[in-house]
Amino acid sequence: MSTIQTEAAVYSAVQSVVGSLHMAHTEWKDAPGLPDFSLLKRLARDQLIFLLEQLPGKKDLFIDADLMSPLDRIANVTILKQHEVDKLYKVELKPIVSSSDQLCFLIRPRIQTVKWISDLVNADKVAGRFRRYKIIFTPQKFYACETVLEEQGVYGDVTTDEWNFYILPLDDDILSLELPEFFRDNFLEGDQRWVTTAGSALRLLQSVYGSFSKVYGIGRCAKMVYESWRELMEDGEQRTRQPEFAKVFLVDRDVDFVTPLCSQVVYEGLVDDLFRIKCGSVEFGPDVTSSDKSIKVMLNSQDKVFSEIRNEHFSNVFGFLSQKAKNLQTAYDKRRGMDIQQMKAFVADELKGLKQEHRLLSLHIGASESMMKKKTKQDFQELLKTEHSLLEGFEIRECITYIEEHINRQVSMIDSLRLLCLLSITENGLLSKDYRSLKAQYLQSYGIEHLLTFANLRQLGLLEEQQAGETLTVMESKVGKLVNDKTVGKLTDAFSSLAKKSNFRALSKRLALVPKSGEEYDLRVPRDMAYVFSGAYIPLSCKLIEQVLERDGWTGMEEVTRMLNGQEFAVTGGSSSSEARSKTDAQRIVLVMFLGGCTFSEISALRFLGKERGCRFIVVTTAITNSSRLLEALLDNSA
């Protein structure tokens, strides 16, 4: 009952604000304007407040640790306090110390957390303590959670609700579901519970911003998400509105594992790799701020300095920033020789902006200094060199030796694993001898519990041992030099039917992902998306998107999709009369949804592609990821 009401509330709220939608973006230069996503925040906030008011009176609120930052973007502490939230606690799965008579839990639908709550309730019962409990699941509740409540005998003591907070806009063009566990649950555990969540997110976008004329996708999960979304749309009422997006592209993370495994070298990606961007903000430590305290900074297009360097290769950033610093000085210097009136105007209009810019500039200079310190070092250069060799399939023996040393010297648990995976994927699995020796050495360095990690990696196809017959791939690449491309394609098909393989080498060749070595690549004037990896590699995911948009479908890419294990689709939306609208803004906006996470490098690459093609990409992702997050999700040494 309550969910119906809340949904109704959300949708009526949508109705009421939809009218004002198009006003926000009147400016129209060369790029199409983006829809106003802050609306999504407002909707989420209104619904949350509605839910909080369902439990009148003072209450303590327990929040899942990973919901803290997203929640902060939606409703800050002041707003929560206004709605009678007394104290805020982080869910720590430990006994609690709260004196409140009403406890409200804002959590992800996880069995563990629900079990913890059940234990709390039962403990209160034993102690003869009476309280009211309310669980707000976000973005939705799962049957399994209710089963736990039932099994623990507290079903009747707890009221539950759903906060349909599906999407957090991180920036003008980045929307996140903030569901890092999507990746592990879906791809490793085979648990598809989040599929409907992703479908609902798309429905939300569609109901607020209008329908799409064309949907493309690749991957099993993508297909299921599309199906779920389509069913949701059939259930609900159709709203015929001018669409704000033309096309949607859905892509599974496991279609392209190579890209997220590479070291990021674009500024935003590098900041993420080094300092970990959390929910659109980063905490710069003392080494960056050159003071004794850390500073939290929001990283988005509002930050004028950041927005100019985020997509740049880090080698350009320092130069850019120093130029910027000079300009800023000039602007400050204008003060000299001003009369009082001008000075007054300067202080009123410009000074604040300049000061703000100054502050940000010094932070980013600090960050890039710290970056340069770490990343221009010999070992980083060697790491990059190894990665590039792997991508190119060049000097593999040297690479293996390098990785071995990396493991032996315990340089970094995650980085070693990352290189191993990269080696395996690009080489279609490791030779048995190498696999065993590297694995044994890794276990010696980091402990036997990583047996499980290796089992997980194998299951996902990230790190595999070549089966006897599979050395054929090596053959294949040799054959490739002798016969023409078509025959290679046929051979590849035959091989790929043997086992689920990454086929990276063949894909790379067909899609020209790795530019020919030896050519100079000017990183200041990028000529293709490869610049996000120093000119060494075009992200496979982005290349696929480019190709499909160019061809308006998958025709002509049959071999590529076969190597990616198929599951591709292209659907034309029902309502669009494309002729009439083909010239509108919306036609040039493409929504790309990454299922299982996307990296900042991919976002940068898409921004570049957009600029080249005169369109804009909006990235919807289940979470922002990078190599560390990806691999950490696959470790099995904690819980």
Binding site: F142, E189, R193, T196, D235, A440, Q444, S445
Partner: protein
């Protein structure tokens, strides 16, 4: 003030009642609903069973059957047109419009013990309620029969026998009872019994003999034994009027007859053969009744049903009065006149029009005509008025058409449902209050599917709430028809419903299943496009394997969980596991659940599948959760066994190594007091070396076949950290370094010992010479090495490190060398 009433005949009743309504218990539902009769109810002979009959408002039979249950005290209708029969023992039986038994409920022990004396069935915003006065003179109340919460009201002080009259009120979101005991009045609510006095009640009265509450619960009328009718607000704060009927016998029935927003109070009192309407003024209006009748209060009037006729008594609506009053000069009247003249092609039309227009009242005139049309029952009169309105509209620019258009539509629908064969005599006011949705529901309930669809299409109701909904009900009805075969029905349903939006086949299938047609249900489910919708019913029908595969097909994990959990409770463990085994998606989900909730089940699952690999992993995982060493070793041993079974020698050996390591660690912990248990081999060795236990470290190196390289790295690092340069030098000479000598240089430099670092530079391989020289800051040497190797990139590296001021000469040499190297 003057009371204007009109009485119109709705129907000549289609039923054929020999004795009229005499000796019948009658209940008619408001909003032109059905009529129920319990014939022969008062005869009370044990041999003759009373007959329960249900008719439409026009007297067409809907159902008839002999009453076999207990003694009925009261009949009544719910808001959704279900019939309630309240028995003497407090049991309430619920029947549908067609006489089908739906369910029964009890009004509680107390009622059944002391028996029902009187009952009233009432409607409030919370639904249909039942109020009972028991033989113990206590009231029991249920506000909503769909969600029964019985309330026993407080005792009425001094009540010795049945009260002279009582009524149910709804005030302040609460149902209360108003009771008259002689001249005393009490209000009973949940907690208290409060005496009240109606303001200005005439003092001649010694007893209140009858009372009635208006449809909206806002007004109250009381009839005293002196024959006075007191009318006022139901909160008893205000008196509106008091009229003397001059009749002192108790009436049969009394009802309010007042339309919403009317300025005047008016109530109808009925005696045998006589009906009196009382209003604000002293005069009363009397009607003669031929026959036994019942009054049915409505929102805007009273219906009078007799054995032969069905009439509506209403206050004349303002608009109609203005127009039809003799010699009326109201704008509407003039417009009607103008139109009449126009039809006659007389120029008087223009005069009338001019008169209205001069007062600029034309739009008012149109509005009046439209409104009046809505209140008229005769299609001819409606048409005349609407034509007049349409005529008037021609002379107006910018007159909004909505009111006119929607009135035309509404009237068309109303005329259709008022038809004798349908028999729902709704007024426009009632229709607006009831809404189209509800009207469609009622048509559907009466199985008037084609008419319902017509109405939906005509009023352009969104398909979802309109046509589709009707079709769904039709299909639900269709599947219960026993005489047709499964195939025929399934086909008929699919053909009719094919292109309707928002149809849920699973609902229809559920209906089929409920009427015992499992096969038909399964057939119908095949039409359901959303596999998720099929699942709950399939489970209900015990088609679990099908349910599970449909759930998986739907891609909705939650649904799969639902089925899995259901099966877990339904099947024995072996069958359950077998079923999961055939459904990998379900299996992996269940494993997920077990990981958090039931570790042991997880083990059983792996066991059943002979998945030794997973079992091995399971034990490994369990081992590092356990704190006690013995337990850990034991678990690891289990893991080893499983890995061997899985023919995974690598994992088995590694695990065995781990067991050895653990034992070794513990032994050393006991001997040396170093914290070691749980460390990886690498970390153990690091620790040992850092505390100087070189022998033990070396033992591990040999026992665990640690690669030379790793051991050298480890030792190198450990010695440098302790700045034991002598030992380092010795170590470097033990044999040829497997990691080369560059690491020696680097490690010394890292600890700021350039002197020591230089010792190793000469030992470095030629490829690393440049790096080594650069590391110790020997530009000269680096240049030398690079030039010797004629390696362009190395030369460049050195160059980039040179400073223009100090290494001027060196740079020249390098540049020259570079030039030759490039040439090559």
């Amino acid at each position: 003030a003057h009371l204007d009433l009109k009485k119109i005949e709705l129907y000549e009743m289609g039923w054929n009642l020999k004795d009229g309504l005499r000796e019948c218990l009658v209940a008619a539902a408001p909003y032109g609903g059905p009529i129920a009769l319990l014939k022969g109810h008062y005869r009370r002979s044990p041999s003759a069973r009373p007959q329960l009959e249900i008719y439409s408002s026009s007297g067409l039979p809907l159902a008839s059957f002999p009453w076999k249950s207990g003694v009925v005290k009261q009949l009544g209708w719910t808001v959704s047109d279900d019939l309630l029969c309240v028995q003497e023992d407090g049991t309430v039986l619920v029947y549908d419009l067609w006489g089908g038994f739906k369910r029964h409920f009890s009004m509680g022990n107390e009622v059944s013990q002391s028996q029902v004396l009187e009952t009233k069935i009432f409607h409030s915003p919370y639904g249909t309620g039942v109020a009972i006065l028991t033989g113990a003179l206590r009231f029991t109340l249920a506000t909503n029969i769909d969600d029964i919460k019985l309330r026993r009201l407080p005792e009425v002080p001094g009540l010795q026998e049945a009260p002279s009259c009582w009524a149910v009120l709804t005030q302040d979101r609460q149902s209360k009872v108003l009771v008259a005991n002689g001249s005393q009045l009490f209000i009973l609510d949940n907690t208290a019994c409060t005496p009240v006095t109606p303001p200005g009640l005439s003092p001649q009265a010694s007893s209140i003999v009858h009372m009635c509450v208006s449809f909206s619960y806002k007004y109250l009328a009381l009839l005293t034994d002196s024959g006075h009718v007191w009318m006022g607000t139901s909160n008893l704060k205000e008196k509106l009027s008091e009229v003397d009927t001059k009749i002192k016998t108790p009436p049969k029935q009394m009802a309010w007859c007042r339309r919403p927003k009317s300025q005047q109070p008016s109530a109808v009192v009925m005696w045998d053969g006589l009906l009196i309407v009382v209003g604000e003024c002293k005069e009363t209006i009397q009607y003669h009744l031929d026959d036994d009748s019942v009054l049915v209060p409505e929102l805007d009037g009273v219906r009078i049903i007799s054995g032969t006729h069905h009439e509506l008594l209403q206050e004349v609506p303002g608009a109609c009065e203005e127009i039809f009053k003799i010699a009326s000069m109201a704008p509407g009247a003039l417009l009607l006149e103008a139109h009449k003249e126009y039809e006659k092609e007389s120029q008087k039309a223009d005069e009338y029009l001019r008169e209205i227009k001069e007062q600029s009242l034309l739009s008012e005139a149109v509005r009046q005509c439209v409104e009046a049309a809505g209140h008229e029952h005769e299609p001819e009169t409606q048409k005349t008025l609407l034509r007049a309105a349409s005529f008037g509209k021609c002379f107006l620019s910018n007159f909004p058409p909505e009111q006119f258009v929607s009135m035309c539509r509404d009237l068309r629908v109303l005329n259709a449902v008022r038809d004798y064969t349908v028999g729902i005599p709704l007024t426009h006011t009632q229709f607006k209050q009831m809404t189209v949705q509800v009207l469609i529901d009622r048509l559907v309930y009466r199985k008037l599917y084609p008419l319902a669809i017509e109405v939906c299409r005509y009023l352009k109701t969104p398909e979802y709430q309109g046509v589709s909904r009707v079709l769904k009900h039709w299909a639900c009805y269709k599947v219960q028809q026993k005489e047709e075969s499964d195939e025929v029905i399934a086909k008929a349903v699919s053909v009719k419903l094919a292109d309707a939006a928002g149809i849920s086949y699973s609902e229809i299938a559920t209906k089929a299943y409920e009427s015992g047609r499992t096969e038909l249900a399964i057939k119908l489910l095949e039409f359901e496009p959303r596999s998720g919708e099929q699942v709950p019913l399939l489970l209900k029908m015990k088609k679990s394997p099908l349910a599970l595969s449909k759930a998986i097909e739907s891609g909705d994990t939650d649904l799969v969980y639902t089925v899995v959990m259901y099966l877990k409770n339904e099947l024995n463990r072996g069958d359950f596991f077998m079923m999961l085994r055939n459904q990998p998606v379900a299996l992996s989900l269940y494993k997920q659940f077990c990981k958090h909730q039931e570790q042991d089940t997880l083990k059983d699952l792996f066991n059943q599948d002979d998945d030794h690999e997973e079992l091995g992993n399971f034990y490994v995982k369990a081992s590092y959760k356990d704190q006690r060493l013995e337990a850990r070793v034991a678990l690891l041993q289990s893991a080893v066994d499983e890995y061997y079974k899985a023919k995974n020698d690598f994992s088995a050996k590694t695990t065995e190594d781990e067991m050895r390591l653990l034992r070794f660690q513990r032994k050393l912990e006991e001997e040396k007091g170093e914290q070691l248990v749980g460390f990886s081999l690498h970390d153990t060795m690091t620790t040992l070396l850092s505390v100087g236990l070189h022998k033990h470290a070396e033992q591990l190196y040999k026992d665990f076949r640690v690669p030379d390289k790793r051991f050298w790295w480890l030792k190198l690092k450990a010695l440098a950290e302790k700045e034991d340069w002598e030992e380092l030098e010795k170590f470097g000479k033990t044999k040829k370094s497997p990691v080369g000598y560059l690491p020696f240089v680097e490690v010394c430099i890292k600890h700021h010992n350039k002197y020591e670092a230089k010792k190793y530079v000469s030992k470095v391989t030629p490829e690393q010479k440049v790096k080594a020289h650069l590391a110790v800051g020997d530009m000269e040497g680096a240049a030398e090495a690079a030039i010797e190797r004629r390696n362009e990139s190395e030369i460049s590296t050195v160059l980039s490190r040179c400073s223009a001021t100090t290494d001027h000469l060196l740079m020249e040499r390098l540049n020259r060398a570079k030039a030759t190297a490039v040439k090559k």
